[in-house]
Amino acid sequence: MANSLKSHKASQSFWTNFVLIVICVLWMIPILGILITSFRPSDEIFRNGWWNVFPHKEDVEVSRVVIPESVDVDGPISYGGKTATFQEWQRGIQLDDGTKATWYGNKRTRTLIISENKWVGFATNLTLENYKDVLTGKTITYKNAQGQTITRTGNNLGGAFLNSLAVTIPGTIIPILIAAFAAFGFAWLDFPGRNVVFTIIVALLVVPLQIALVPILQDYVKLELNGTFLGIWLAHTGFGLPLATYLLFNYISTIPRELLESAYIDGASNFTIFTNLILPLSVPALASFAIFQFLWLWNDYLVALVFLGEKNQTVTIAVAQLVGEKGQDWHLMTAAAFISMILPLVVFLSLQRYFVRGLMAGSVKG
């Protein structure tokens, strides 16, 4: 009996992990693609797929054969015991000795490439160059009238990193604080207009923030908040508050009533209850919202561009500048994507410890 239960548990754990691993592998493929691409030389990226860095079988050129001038390339062409038209040779023909013959270029070249299908090992030309360019600024060169080459270094991410932190840290904590107060108010305090206001907040979730950019910018120009950190925190607070209030409300309203009642009986004020009871109990919800708000700010481009401008470049803006007008520097984009992903992942991992079971466990029994 005990044994079968144990094996039952073991098989359950096997299946649990199996399903998780399958899903995780699926999720990892695109990420792996970016990671590998970020280490590849820029011209290689467009030549073949990123999976070619792994060992694989490939046609490798071993020799070239020139078809003599006497052969009419418009008619049937014979080589290596096979006779075929130009079009067929162009597509490639398997020869009897196991090699493959493929026409090189157009008819005028009169050249066949003989190749063998061989194993190719791990790619050896992976490079850190993309990361170097992203971190220290890419080298920009052009030639002047005298033919001299002018070299300049483009933007680097160092200062932008600091700016991003100055935007994201208060921009994450401020709305959480304000939203937690509001969520508590909506969940546990009675006041006129409570229903209407809450309905409006849910509706505001769907408002595209783009409609607010122009009016807010007008206000900011008048208040001289434009281009200041205060301005962008307020903007991110405003845009993030509906989701924050909504998520935190849903969590805070599930806190058992008995818990609060006993606190009120002990004579605690609303403020005390909020700081000493609600906030500690809401840590998992606060932590999960913190992750999303942090990420949203970290990866935000438009709001930062409009309200902070180019003077206090954030990482996203700096990366966009670095990638250039043509938008074709995919090797830099992938490297930059990885660099800018590190901090959000650290935040996610460090907030993991707040997702623990049993914060409210003791309170439910009563």
């Binding site: 693609g33 006041f191 992942l345």
Partner: protein, 378 residues
């Protein structure tokens, strides 16, 4: 953060003793002015410091962080302190507003007022100079481009939301039982941490199509797989209407992490005693999942579903980066973006924004109903 000490008169510490000196009428008066004034002065100095931007960047950033976060906390403490000084009856009426007031004011300023402005603009022409009646709404509800976006958004809403929530719930539940929980969750979460510019590049590498012809090698993963299996490469993102599903896959890839994090924190809230009791009663894991976990996290499920439905309605960067809305993949928010920033048609853009608001009405009604059930004010 132990504010209650400085505030409650009963506490027996030096600060309260000094404060009690202010117990006289003049002291009261003095303090009531002094405290907000000092608070304000400190905040104002910080603001000036930041505006001057003369200090080294790192110092500025540190001051900015302390000033911003501390300032907001300070404002709450001071306002609450002031309100608590009022007669009990008034203070009881006013206190809820101390809690919800700032949030409501800020949301009003940053979102509600712009919505009202949009509502007005939606009845005016593209420059906002003349009234045009319902002309913009006629466009929003009858133009073939808009009808296409409605169909596509419905697909996004149904399939995108369902699979994001389902995968999120599955992973959150399973990972909860696994020793490698953090690893699994981190992997699923990673896409969410990527900037979309980076994510867009990689999905292009998955769907890309180089064409057919001599010597052309596919660099797109999907086409490489198809070719390896003996098929012909396809221009995936141009295959109407299937291309919509290829885009929705990207949304699921991104949003599952979100659903997982929120649901996971809710699952952590399911009391272990309940689960243990059920296991001792011999319930199998499926039964536990459906009869204990799901009912327990019902509220959170609604929250997650609501936010993802809304996300799927607002989605536009995936479409903009991957297809630009061509070949039958346009969505409402992309059309909104085009109208406001590319065509500079403020009237139509506003009408589309208002239509978006109308579309979520059922979602809002559903939420308010559940809000009323949870109503429990003191």
């Amino acid at each position: 953060m132990n504010i209650s000490q400085t505030k409650s008169p009963g506490a027996n510490n030096p600060i309260t003793k000094i404060l009690s000196w202010f117990g006289t009428a003049i002291g009261q008066l003095f303090v009531s002015v002094l405290v907000p004034a000092v608070t304000f002065l400190v905040l104002w100095q910080g603001y000036l410091f930041l505006q001057r931007a003369a200090a080294p960047q790192i110092v500025q950033v540190l001051v900015a962080i302390v000033w911003g976060v501390g300032g907001v906390a300070l404002l709450y403490v001071v306002t609450n302190w002031l309100v608590m000084k009022l007669p009990k009856k008034i203070s009881k009426t006013l206190q809820p507003f101390v809690f919800v007031g700032p949030a409501v004011v800020i949301m009003g300023w940053f979102l509600a007022v712009p919505v009202v402005r949009s509502l007005v603009a939606s009845f005016r022409n593209y420059l906002g100079t003349e009234w045009v009646g319902l002309e913009n709404y006629k466009f929003a509800f009858t133009d073939p481009r808009m009808l296409e976006t409605f169909r596509n958004n419905l697909l996004w809403m149904v399939f995108g939301t369902f699979f994001s929530v389902a995968f999120g719930l599955l992973i959150a539940t399973l990972a909860d039982r696994s020793k490698a929980e953090v690893l699994y969750k981190s992997i699923i979460f990673t896409p969410y941490a990527l900037s979309f510019v980076g994510a867009g590049v990689i999905w292009k590498f998955i769907y890309t199509y180089k064409g057919t012809g001599i010597g052309i090698r596919e660099i797109g993963l999907l086409n490489a797989v198809v070719t390896a299996l003996g098929g012909t490469p396809q221009p995936w993102l141009n295959l109407t209407p299937w291309n919509n599903f290829f885009l929705i896959v990207i949304m699921i890839w991104l949003q599952t992490g979100y659903a997982m994090v929120i649901l996971s924190s809710a699952i952590k809230g399911v009391p272990a005693e309940l689960l243990e009791a059920a296991r001792i009663d011999g319930a199998n894991e499926f039964k536990i999942f459906f009869s204990i976990i799901v009912p327990y996290i019902k509220g959170t499920l609604l929250t997650v579903t609501t936010t993802i439905v809304i996300f799927s309605l607002k989605t536009f960067d995936i479409v903009r980066v991957m297809t630009g809305g061509n070949n039958g993949t346009n969505v409402i928010a992309n059309e909104f973006y085009l109208q406001s920033f590319t065509y500079n048609n403020a009237g139509r853009a506003s009408a589309i924004a208002i239509v978006l608001l109308l579309l979520v009405t059922p979602v809002i009604i559903n939420n308010v109903r559940s809000f009323n059930q949870q109503r429990r004010g003191f």
